[in-house]
Symmetry: none
Subunit: 132 residues, 4 copies
């Protein structure tokens, strides 16, 4: 089961609304179950450097089927996954990436958001992930 | 002058309609004047390999401010730009990438489309480029 | 709004003067609002390895519209942006990269300097950024 | 013997004058004897995609101590250096790259120019290479 483009565009629209609501400018990326980009939107004036980060967050969330912030806790110095970011052409392991599930609870893709403090990134990503 | 996300999403929507009309499934990418991705959409069932191609076509069209197919004519064996594709982390120089201009005729970005025969890619890209 | 080549060359000239004044040899890079290189100069005898670092500092400063040293504080182990350096084909997050603004306060590019202690890199970058 | 920054900046200034004279907008790169970038300038409005091409032309000219166009003749299908462009992280083998020699005839660096027809690129590169 893969997220559809229609679902991905809805998730981006909902995430954008949340970004506006909390007064931020975000890059928002959606990948499918194969971790390949399905849809993307960069809000006017959002950080350029967050383009790549948002896509890497979405991929990281699907690569390991967990929120990116959880991977980040495990990749700190001395922790089990230290420097896992070197794999897969670069992971991003701080909050803002969340798996997306269908009604049956199956993971069908992931969303990655970047453009503000990581707490805000996560809030916007969650709004998008919950939109289906 | 940079294309806005609203304009980019409209271009993708128009391109998608054209893709449906001619019975194809496309990857559609929009970059801004700095050749950075603004918006992207992959239609359900579109070729996975066309994801990267659509983005490279959009970048190539903005990199040289011309349709990608024109670059491709000049990059054939024996032609002036032979093997230009090795630059810029990889160009795509067959049809499907078109610069996007504003009402004043200034280039504000570019569209890249991939997923079918290059003639179809160009038709869909043109629909998107003309949508503003 | 993009920095012009004339402005970029002036920024490099001013930065070079400051580098001579504090007895250092620097690599100095200027990128535009799209984070693309506009001008570059490597002073005779400056570290070769600082060539790439100066360009990455300039890009990083524009990618996130802040001084590179600020990103570096946030990317330490345990901090919110830990290992952000894996994005965007490699960031440099220690001091020496500064956004460049026009008279209206709009960011039109960035400068990156590398070749000495990071405090010196920052001093030289600031001289260049303030030259417009 | 290496080209100095002062010499490189003079070569760029002369090349820019020639570019203006023939009504073109160029990216101009100078590398030293080690094929490492010494100075660079992108004229306002010059093609973005020519940024990387100009640097690769300069490197290619120094890598093989000959004009890039000569390498290109040898890299055509069926010729001895077919597809040499795959080496060195990407070569550019059409005209516009020229070695720079000192008064004693020793190669001290190279210039690469990109932004127009390859004949114009070569004319501008030659002006720069002859400036020392």
């Amino acid at each position: 089961m893969n997220i559809t483009l229609e679902q991905a565009e809805k998730a981006i629209a909902v995430a954008k609304s949340k970004a506006v609501e909390i007064d931020t400018k975000m890059n928002i990326a959606i990948v499918d179950a194969g971790a390949n980009l399905v849809a993307f939107g960069r809000m006017d004036g959002a950080w350029l450097g967050s383009l790549d980060i948002s896509i890497k967050k979405a991929k990281t969330a699907r690569f390991f089927d967990m929120n990116t912030g959880i991977v980040g806790e495990l990749s700190q110095p001395g922790q089990p996954l230290y420097n896992i970011e070197h794999s897969n052409n670069g992971l991003i392991t701080f909050p803002g990436g969340i798996p997306i599930k269908n009604a049956a609870g199956e993971i069908i893709g992931a969303i990655g958001v970047s453009g503000s403090a990581v707490e805000n990134d996560h809030i916007v990503a969650e709004a998008g992930a919950m939109s289906l």
